[in-house]
């Protein structure tokens, strides 16, 4: 669905990031400026291992950029903010906590009192379809289930922007397709802005309202695509495949 209100939720201006490694400067992100609209599903697509996760870390406040600034609803941001939540790629569930306890974590950090915490967390556990698994430990869950816990956890703090760093990267193909449909369903039920990072073109075209294509290292915005196809999308439909080919031809190969 096209985004009706083109209200800018997040603005990135001239973001650059570089690291000093072994006395050499290594540029990861080079001068990225980007507008993210309210309630859109924005996909950041780029070749592997270059800049995508760094960019997301900067937005989430885990890293400070060397240059540039970010604005949320017009307000300048430094560091992390409760309004921006994140779902991690590498499974970041704490193994010593149960599912319920993990999902509650954000609320616990915000000092929400216990019964309210339970209530909210339960709501989201149900939303991602994990009802009944509240007392299980992460080691007892499959990869897809673990990611769903991660998503539920990110949702509990009611973030206005949800960052997702290749959340399905570690899953097998079947689960991945299932999770793509799942994330769409959850997004539909609880609309908010999502910034989704992936290196899979099909996934990007399937999920995104817009796709930001990054170049290879150092990452900069190569092109932005508007995907106007109606949802749910058919991955073998000619228009889908055409867009996919267009993007694929434009992508820098990273080895």
């Amino acid at each position: 669905m096209p985004v009706d209100e083109k209200r800018v939720k997040l603005r990135l201006e001239n973001i650059s990031q570089s690291y000093v490694v072994n006395n050499k400067v290594f540029d990861a992100v080079s001068n990225i400026s980007l507008d993210v609209y309210d309630n859109e599903f924005l996909v950041i697509l780029g070749p592997g291992h270059c800049g995508k996760s760094v960019l997301l870390n900067i937005i989430g406040g885990l890293e400070k950029p060397v240059e540039g600034s970010k604005y949320l609803d017009g307000e300048k941001l430094t560091g992390s903010d409760k309004r921006i939540g994140m779902v991690f790629q590498k499974l970041a569930l704490m193994p010593w906590k149960t599912v319920m306890s993990n999902v509650e974590f954000g609320l616990q950090m915000a000092s929400v009192e216990k019964t309210k915490r339970r209530e909210i967390a339960q709501q989201y556990i149900d939303l991602v379809g994990l009802k009944g698994f509240e007392k299980s430990y992460p080691s007892q869950l499959s990869g897809g289930m673990k990611q769903r816990v991660g998503i539920a956890r990110a949702y509990t703090n009611n973030p206005e922007i949800l960052l997702m760093d290749e959340p399905f990267g570690q899953l097998d193909a079947q689960t991945r397709y299932a999770m793509q449909e799942e994330i769409q369903r959850v997004w539909y039920q609880q609309k908010r802005t999502i910034i989704f990072v992936t290196n899979n073109i099909e996934e990007a075209v399937y999920l995104g309202d817009r796709i930001v294509l990054l170049s290879k290292c150092p990452a900069s915005v190569k092109q932005i695509y508007n995907i106007d196809l109606p949802r749910p999308r058919d991955t073998i439909e000619p228009k889908f495949l055409a867009i996919r080919k267009e993007i694929s031809d434009n992508t820098d190969l990273a080895l």
Partner: protein, 274 residues
Amino acid sequence: MEKIVIQQGIVLSESEKKEIRQNRIYKILPVVSIILLSALWLFASKEVLGFPSPAETWERFTQLLEKPIKALSLWGHIFVSLQRVFLALVLSWIIGISFGILLGWSEKCNALFGPVFTAFRAVPPLALIPLITIWFGTGEGPKVLLVFIGALMPVVVNTQAGMRNVNKLYLDVGTIFNATDRQKLFQIAIPSALDAIFAGVRTSASAAWMVVLAAEMLGAKAGVGFLIIRGMDSGDEALVLLSMICIGIVGAMLAVATQIAEGVLCPWTRKGSN
């Protein structure tokens, strides 16, 4: 080409039969080794002067159950030793874990206190016995102190290692959710280090058992270590061997107890069905 044997509807291949044969042998071997060991024991008691035979040892055991040494039965002595161990252990855990957390979490504290601690660590607790006896004599207190020192080291070292190896990813999750440093320490770092802390606890239990024996052997009026020395001094070798066996059994039970405790307190370490 495999030859197949049909046996009550079960079809076995040649390699499966071989495996079954092998497994049968594996089951017998432990019994064989125990028999050999017993034979060795009997042999030693005949050939080596003074080495007690199994019969003598058993007799001594039953004797000891009835006639106490220094007013304490066998169980009494074991209890005395264990008492010292428990007291020292609990103290070492409380202080050791706190100190280990401090050293592992704060780099600055580690730089300040670390080197002196490492130096102390290099000294085997047993070497401290003469010093402590000069300072405090040979009562209960110094013994517990010694065991405490011996048990403290592994607790601190393991706790510190556990704290240092907290997965940065978990701390990042904390950052995303705006956790304060204090929250990160107590809600993320410490739980994540629990399995290392328990490794330290397990090691400290066996270390404590060792030190208490040494301390008792070098000057005590009760306890299992005392029994051994008593046996040695009075030429009562059966008592010596008997005490050793008891020591081994109690030591093993301590190890099992700490392992069970870990399983109860850290249920996530039991492997799931994934």
